[in-house]
C-alpha cells in the first residue's frame, strides 16, 4: 500500500511539474557565414583604413553601396576593406566582423546594421573604443555612433503610400471601389522595414479612400529570396480583391513583381523599394502599373567615407542624422534626368 501511495504521489507531482515545463527548442536554418574582409581598392601604405560592413553581399542594392565606397576611397585617398552578411538577419555575423575590423586596426567603420536593436551594444562598444563609427542605410537604437547616412524610412514609407494611391488612381480606381492592398515585408526585427511600414500605414490611414483597405495579414519572407515570391502568391490566393501590393524592401519587391508577372495580373499596382531587374521590367512595361522607391545608397557610402576621413583627421560633424532622400520611379518619370542619374548609380 505504501509503495502504491508513493507512486501515485510521484505521478501527481510529475503531472504537475510537466504542466510547467518549457517548450522544446525550435530548429533554425543554417546561415552562410560572413567572409573575411577584402580590399576594395588599391591598398596604399599610410592612408586611412576604413572598413565597410554591408547587409547582403549578393544583392545588387548592396553592390551599389560597395561601388560608392570604392569610388569614395579613390576620391579621398583612403584604403577601403569590405565584407558583410549573406542574409539580412545575420546580425551576429556582422558583430563578429566589427570585432575583426577593430582587431585589424580599423581607423573607422562604416556599418549597415542588420538589426538596429540587437547590434546596438556592439556599435556602442566600438564607438566607446574611440573608433569613428558611421552608420549607413539603417540607424541603431543607440546614441553611440558619429553620424548616420540613410533614407528617412518613415518618410520613404509615406512617399511609397502616396505613390500607391497614384498608381491605383491611374488604374482607374475611384474612392467608391472596394479594394485591398497587400503588404510583404522582409523581416520583423528590421528598424528600416518597421519604419517604412509605419510611414506607409501612417500616410495611408490619413489620405487613402475609406474603401481602400489594407490587408492586416502582413506577409513576411524573412529575407529569403526564394520565399518572397511564395508569400506574394499566398497574398494573391488568399485575398482575391487585392489591387495593390506594397513591398517594404528589395527582396519583398522582387517577390511581388515575380508573382504579379507570373499571374499576368496587370490589374494590380505594385510599389516597392530598390531597383531590381524584376521591378524594372514591370515599370518599363506598358501593361503593368508599378513603381519603386529608390534610395540614394551610392550617396550614403560616398558621404560616409567623406565623414569617416573628417573624423579620423580630428574633425567634427554638425549633424548626426542625414536623410539622403528617396525618389519614386514609375513608368511616367523613368526617363527624367534626375531619375536617370539615380538609376545610373543603382
Amino acid at each position: 500500500m505504501n509503495k502504491r501511495a508513493a507512486s501515485l504521489l510521484c505521478s501527481a507531482v510529475i503531472v504537475l511539474t510537466a504542466c510547467t515545463s518549457d517548450k522544446a527548442p525550435e530548429m533554425t536554418a543554417e546561415i552562410k557565414p560572413a567572409p573575411p574582409f577584402q580590399e576594395l581598392n588599391m591598398n596604399v601604405e599610410g592612408r586611412n583604413n576604413i572598413y565597410l560592413i554591408v547587409k547582403n553581399l549578393e544583392s545588387s542594392y548592396w553592390q551599389v553601396i560597395i561601388k560608392g565606397a570604392r569610388d569614395a576611397g579613390d576620391l579621398y585617398d583612403t584604403n577601403i576593406y569590405y565584407s558583410g552578411s549573406y542574409i539580412e538577419t545575420d546580425w551576429e555575423g556582422q558583430a563578429r566582423l566589427m570585432q575583426e575590423a577593430v582587431d585589424a586596426g580599423a581607423d573607422a567603420i562604416i556599418l549597415a546594421p542588420d538589426d538596429s536593436v540587437m547590434l546596438s551594444e556592439k556599435i556602442g562598444e566600438v564607438y566607446d573604443a574611440g573608433i569613428p563609427t558611421i552608420l549607413i542605410d539603417t540607424t541603431a537604437n543607440t546614441e553611440k555612433y558619429d553620424i548616420c547616412y540613410m533614407t528617412d524610412n518613415l518618410m520613404a514609407g509615406r512617399i511609397a503610400a502616396a505613390e500607391m494611391i497614384n498608381r491605383l488612381e491611374d488604374l482607374g480606381h475611384t474612392n467608391e471601389d472596394h479594394l485591398q492592398i497587400g503588404i510583404e515585408i522582409g523581416a520583423v526585427t528590421s528598424q528600416t522595414i518597421s519604419e517604412r511600414l509605419a510611414g506607409f500605414i501612417m500616410y495611408w490611414s490619413d489620405n487613402s479612400p475609406e474603401n481602400w483597405e489594407l490587408v492586416t495579414d502582413i506577409k513576411c519572407n524573412e529575407g529569403i529570396a526564394e520565399k518572397s515570391a511564395v508569400v506574394a502568391q499566398e497574398l494573391l490566393d488568399e485575398y482575391p480583391n487585392i489591387r495593390g501590393l506594397f513591398g517594404t524592401n528589395n527582396s519583398s519587391t522582387v517577390g511581388l513583381a515575380t508573382a504579379v508577372k507570373d499571374n499576368g495580373r496587370t490589374d494590380i499596382a505594385i510599389v516597392g523599394f530598390d531597383y531590381s531587374d524584376e521591378i524594372a521590367e514591370l515599370i518599363t512595361s506598358d501593361e503593368y502599373s508599378a513603381a519603386t522607391v529608390l534610395q540614394q545608397q551610392y550617396l550614403m557610402t560616398k558621404l560616409g567615407v567623406e565623414a569617416a576621413n573628417i573624423l579620423i583627421d580630428g574633425g567634427t560633424l554638425e549633424r548626426k542624422f542625414v536623410d539622403t532622400g528617396v525618389i519614386a520611379v514609375n513608368h511616367d518619370n523613368i526617363n527624367d534626368k534626375e531619375v536617370q542619374e539615380v538609376l545610373d548609380n543603382n
Binding site: A5, L9, A12, V13, L154, Q191, A198, M202, T216, R319
Partner: protein, 521 residues
Amino acid sequence: MKASKKNKGLNGSSELFDQARSTRPMLRTIGIYLCICLAAVITLIYIFNALIKKHDEQLTNEICNLVTEKMNSSIAYMTSSARNMSAVLSAQDCELDELYSQVSKSHEGSYESVGFIDNMGKIYASETELAEFKKWDLVTVANDADRFAHISISSPYRSGLTGELVFTIFTHMTYGGGKNGKLFVTYPLKEIQNMAATDTLKSQTEIWLMDAASSNIIQCAGSNKYSIGSWNNALIKKQEIDSKYQNAYSDWKSKMDLGEEQGTLVYRVDGQLYTQVFSKADFMHGWYVVVRLPSSSLSQTLMQFRYSVLVFSAVLTLATLIMFIVSHRRQVQEKLILENLSIHDPLTGVMNRRAFDLSAEHTLSRISKNGAVLLFLDIDFFKEVNDRFGHEAGDTVLKGFAAELTSLFGDIGTISRYGGDEFLVLTSGISHDDTDAKLAELQQRISNMKITDSTDTGNFRLSFSAGGALYPRNARTLKELKACADEALYIVKKNGRNGWGWFDDGKSKDYSYKGKKPDAN
C-alpha cells in the same frame, strides 16, 4: 484448526464472492470521492485563474494609469513651459528676429531647439529645422494651435541634429506690437519615454505609444533597452498572438478606434500569457499609452501559491484515500471475524446451530433431484469423558470428532456442532450406501482415537451413534427431517449405541440399526 481450514476451503468461493461484493461499494465510494476531489481541484484552478486574471488586469490597469499620468504630467509640464516662455517673450514685444537671436543662443532646459513662425508664415529656425518643417509639413500642425486651446503637438519624427525621435510643441504668442505669431519648442521624445520608465517590474514592462489610426507604435520602455525609441506596427505584433485570441485583440483595438478611455486585453504568445492595457494620452491627439506585462511577472506569487495548493490538495487527496482504504480493509477484516463468530462454533470450527439451520434451509430449497441426507450424530458417553478426563480432554475429543467429520463429509456437505456433543451433517448427491461407507470409516477412525491428555489409564474407547434421514423421502422440511434423524438416533442409542441407523418410515426394512455395539466399559 484443521477443521476450521477445511471449512474455510469449503466456503472459499462464497467468501471470495462476498469479498468482491464488499469491495464493489468501496470502489464506488472511492470513485465518487476522487470525482469530488477532481471537481474541487478543477474549481480551485478555475477560481485561481479567474483571480489571477483579474489581479493581472487590475495591476496592469494601475500601471498603465500611472504611466499615462506620468507621461501626461510630463507633457503638461512641457506645454506649460512653452506657454510660460511664450508669455515672457510676448511681454518683451520685440520683433521675432531679435527674439530668435536671443533664444537660439541660450539653450537651457531639456528642449532641443526653439523657434518662431510670424504672421506671414516665415519660420525662424536653423536650416536643418527648416528642412524638417518642409519634410513633415509642420506648418499645418502649427496652425492646429489656433484650434486646440493655443497648443498643438506634432507626431514624433527623427531629428537631423541628434538622429533621435523628437516632437514639436506649437503655442500662440504676440510680438512686435501685438502681431500674432507662434512659438515652437522641440523636445526629444525620450523626455516622455523616461517618464514611462518604472522601477517596478522594469525588466518585463513594455510601454508603447500607439497611434490608433495607423496602429503604429513607438517603444517607450521594454526589456531590451536598445529597442526603446524604435518604430513598429501593431499589425506585426498582432501576428505573434495565438489565433484563439485574435478576435479579442480586434475587440480591444475597436475600443481604441472608438476613442474609449481605456481597454484591457489578455492573450497568449507562444504559451506566455500577457495582459495589455491602453489608456488615452491627453497630449497627442489619436495616440494612446499601451502597457503590456507578462502574467508570470505579475502573478508569480499567486501562481506559486496556486501550485502549492495543488500539490497540497494532491497529497491530501492521496493521504485521505490511503487512510480510507486502510480503514475499509480493517472494517472488512473485523466484519469477517464477526461473521465467522456468528457462523462457526468457536471450539470446533464447524458451523454453529443457527448458521447450520439457515444453510440447510437454503440447501434443501435448491435440491430437487438427487435429494439429501441428514445425519444426527452423538458422541457416546461424552459426559463420562468430561467427568473422568476433564473438560479439556472433552474439548479435545469434540475437536477431533469434528475434524474427522470434516475430513469425511467436508467436501460433500455441511457440518455443524448442534449443541454439546451433538453434530449434524447435511450431504447432497450421495447415496445412503455411500453414506454407510463413510459412517463405517468414521466409526473406525473414532474407535482409534486416544484420549492422550489424561493421566487416567483406564480403558475407555470412543464411539458415536448416528441417525439418518432422507430428503425428501422421509420429510420435506428441515424440522421434520431433523425429527426423523433424531428418531433414528434414538433407536440406535436405545439399541446400545456405537452404530447408526436410518429413519424407518415403514417402507423399507433396510433402514434398521447398523454397526456394532460398543465394547463394555
